[in-house]
Symmetry: C5
């Protein structure tokens, strides 16, 4: 999984029928401190994550292994909200 | 999913039989403002998207999770047309 | 899918039994004008594509969604031969 | 598979129900000597790997092919702990 | 598929039970002449490939489509040993 930060939201009226009612969040990957890198991606939110939170995103067919995304045309899902990260024996991120 | 802009069309007579009648659009990934980056890709259009529109594309096996692409040899599908994007509390893109 | 050009062929005697009789072409990705970029890949040819032609390749599990590649250990397949590409209202490639 | 080093741990209270009780380790890819490169990823640990160990991670749908990850929304799993690596006839890494 | 060269071996005692007895080779991608690029990867060998040989590797779910890897947590498999490559009408690689 990739560490990512929720940075925004997507509004879309015309979309695949299986996506009706799904929350599509804009996320960007981060390193272990929450520092952003890379281009924005859009992930289905299954956990009511908020803008500013650090999350884990699963990509590929893994994104369909939740009750909200089963059989949907989606390739990225938020499947965990991060409380804290510890790297090299040091807490590098802690949720405010 | 990736944010992408529809930039063109592909014409192909000789193709896998399951692709007969499918619209194959040329898309390029964009950032949250619609700024293009990366090389062109080709996506199956399931939503009658038009050239110039910002869309979401799902890649990998997700691309086969629509009624138009089921069991087809395709790895990229347009599954949403974007109305607007809001990042960092600011509207970064709004459909004309 | 990616736009690619067929640039060569692979000869292999020792291979997975499901690949017996399959044509393994060397391809390289191109932009919308046919300009090559990136490293060579090898794709199963299901359409009798010729060296020099521009094609679409599907990657991942999509590569097994043809009658010639079903259940084979292959991750890249040629599933369309491109006649022409039109980007930004301009024909950027037309088959000779 | 990719060679990776376990560099830390992820704490997450709110996560997909199928991830309850799973250990989510922070890993970074390495070369054949254990030299780190790239950004951190998070992998499900199925082998009780420890921080500092070199492991193999499988990505994509392969990550669900263990009894601990079956049908879970995960895309990266630790499926081997590396004892040693030999490249070009030379031992490039040996577990302490 | 990617063209790769077998450059070494991985020794691992603690691994997923489905990998018992499997040969895990270190490979690096090459261009059409056998020139190495990129970082090392680890692939399951299903063809008794030797160090120094040029092979084709299939990645993703394709890696499980052999009798030796079925339902295993592996994402990279060697599914062909290359005899020769011809690119742009010229033999760029021939097995010694």
């Amino acid at each position: 999984m990739r560490i990512a930060k929720v940075v925004g939201v997507t509004v879309s009226t015309i979309k695949d029928e299986k996506l009706q009612g799904r929350k599509l969040l804009v996320v960007r990957e981060t390193d272990e401190t929450g520092e952003l890198y890379g281009k924005p991606m859009v992930a289905v939110d299954t956990l009511d994550a908020g803008v500013g939170e650090l999350v884990l995103v699963a990509q590929g067919s893994a994104a369909r292994q939740t009750s909200m995304t089963d059989k949907s045309p989606v390739d990225t899902v938020i499947m965990a909200i991060i409380d804290s990260l510890e790297v090299d024996g040091r807490v590098t991120f802690r949720k405010a």
